[in-house]
């Protein structure tokens, strides 16, 4: 067990193992994404209330779910980096932010597009939607802060502090926005009742959620590999690797 943690802290080992994992995981991910999308778009029956526009659910919900989960991954990595001073956690945290931001963006855009045919408007100030927007800002904050630091080791630490502060705030933000909405405004627009979801819609949705989790994992590993190389550019193993790839 301890030796495993020890290895986790070793950049060349992590670089190698991530490469191996990716070799198998990436094709699976792409397959799952394509299969899920084709299934969802072409092979399911339309929703009886929303018609064909509901097919957006197969990308909207997975993106939203994974974007939210991504923040917790990032914050945990940040905590590990600060508490145990583990360099690799730092790198994982840094690598989460752009992926999370991109997925949040997807959730927002697909939601907005979905809103037009169903609600007749691109945007409403619904609790969940608003907190998703705030999540995007939190992600962008981490990305921007990292970019603004020249000393990347310090940048990692700064982002770790920021993401931890964000973690304390995410539940507060979520609760407060939720509560704010219910206070002011009798919900004139509601998400579709999810309880009645039909298995024929559920299975492709579950597939897509899984695919997005896999996508997140793959992108995270790829980003980490690139980052490891950059941080370890002075070491012998990176130089050897680079010379070999020439």
């Amino acid at each position: 067990m301890w030796s495993f943690f020890h290895k986790l802290g070793s950049p060349p080992w992590l670089y190698g193992i991530a490469g191996t994992i990716l070799r198998y995981l990436l094709p699976v991910t792409l397959l799952a994404l394509v299969a899920g999308m084709v299934w969802g778009v072409l092979f399911t029956a339309p929703d009886f209330r929303q018609g064909n526009s509901y097919r957006i659910i197969y990308i909207h919900v997975p993106a939203a779910v994974v974007a939210l989960a991504g923040y917790y991954v990032m914050a945990i990595a940040g905590a590990v980096s600060l508490i145990w001073k583990m360099k690799m956690a730092d790198i994982a945290m840094k690598s989460c932010a752009p992926i999370g931001a991109a997925l949040t963006f997807v959730a927002l855009v697909t939601g907005a597009i979905w809103g037009k045919p169903t609600w007749g408007t691109w945007w409403v100030w619904d609790a969940r939607i608003t907190s998703m927007l705030i999540l995007l800002f939190l992600y962008l904050g981490v990305v921007a802060l990292y970019e603004a630091y020249d000393n990347k080791e310090a940048a990692g630490k700064a982002c770790a502090v920021l993401s931890l502060v964000g973690t304390v705030n995410i539940p507060i933000i979520y609760k407060s926005v939720d509560w704010w909405y219910s206070l002011h405004q009798p919900a004139s627009i509601k998400f579709t009742g999810e309880s009645s979801i039909d298995p024929s819609m559920l299975y492709p949705l579950l597939l897509m959620i899984t695919a997005f989790y896999l996508l997140f994992t793959c992108a995270l590993l790829m980003n980490m590999r690139a980052e490891i190389l950059q941080r370890e550019r002075r070491t012998k193993w990176v130089r050897k690797l680079v010379e070999e790839s020439a």
Binding site: L145, Y149, V165, G166
Partner: protein, 228 residues
């Protein structure tokens, strides 16, 4: 000559920050003038129908308080970083948590507290019903303290950046939002005759949390950003 006790040192810091603020008279008066001018902007921009304004007064006043806090947060550690005082503070044997708290406390005294004190005046200018004024005052008192604390984290993380620009607003505005929600809700509740106490209690809870954690984060941020 022996090292000062920690409380003494913190008082000294607080006094120093306050004197610095007072030496630039504009720094003290400015949040207020800013408040006044933006209060004047709203009727200009939105149209002066008094009933509409009264409806929105709690939200507007709170948004202005938030913006004026945002505008000044960046300066909490900035000049000390620029002239090298911050390095000295980091090397000092005193607990950084308390030093940071003194800086933030001074910031709150010259922005948040002052703002809360004059807010009734502006509330009247925006036709806020009298019932809401006490709640406005109390919520600003508590809420701006949270804002200053959270702003201190952002200021600490960005103070050393050459290429930071206005990064701080991106970092802290999302964190400001819960305060805005509960602050304006407290006033709204009071206006319609509902009890404002629960909202104030939540603001109080946020403040306790922020006092406990924000200086820790800000202190860590300072140590990191002198190395940016």
């Amino acid at each position: 000559m022996n090292a000062p006790s920690t409380p003494q040192f913190c008082l000294r810091l607080l006094r120093r920050q306050l004197v610095l603020a007072i030496r630039r008279p504009i720094e003290i008066g400015n949040p207020l003038l800013f408040f006044a001018m933006v209060v004047a902007l709203f009727p200009l921009g939105l149209g002066p129908a008094p009933d509409k304004l009264a409806d929105f007064a709690p939200g507007i006043l709170w948004i202005i308080a938030l913006l004026s806090n945002l505008l000044t947060s960046d300066s909490v550690f900035r000049s000390d970083y620029d002239d090298g005082s911050l390095e000295q503070l980091l090397l000092s044997p005193q607990p950084l948590y308390l030093s940071v708290l003194s800086y933030i406390g001074a910031h709150w005294l010259v922005t948040g507290l002052l703002l809360a004190l004059v807010s009734p005046l502006f509330a009247v200018m925006l036709n806020l019903p009298a019932a809401g004024i006490a709640a406005l005052f109390a919520s600003l008192l508590l809420g701006t303290a949270v804002l200053s604390l959270v702003g201190g984290i952002g200021a600490a993380l960005t103070v050393g950046l050459k290429r930071g620009g206005m990064l701080i607003s991106l970092l802290i505005l999302p964190l400001y939002m819960p305060v805005l929600i509960f602050g304006s809700a407290a006033v709204k509740a009071a206006v319609i005759g509902a009890p404002a106490a629960p909202y104030l209690a939540i603001l109080g809870a946020m403040l306790s949390l922020a006092i406990a954690l924000a200086p820790v984060a800000a202190a860590a941020g300072l140590r990191i950003s002198v190395d940016a």
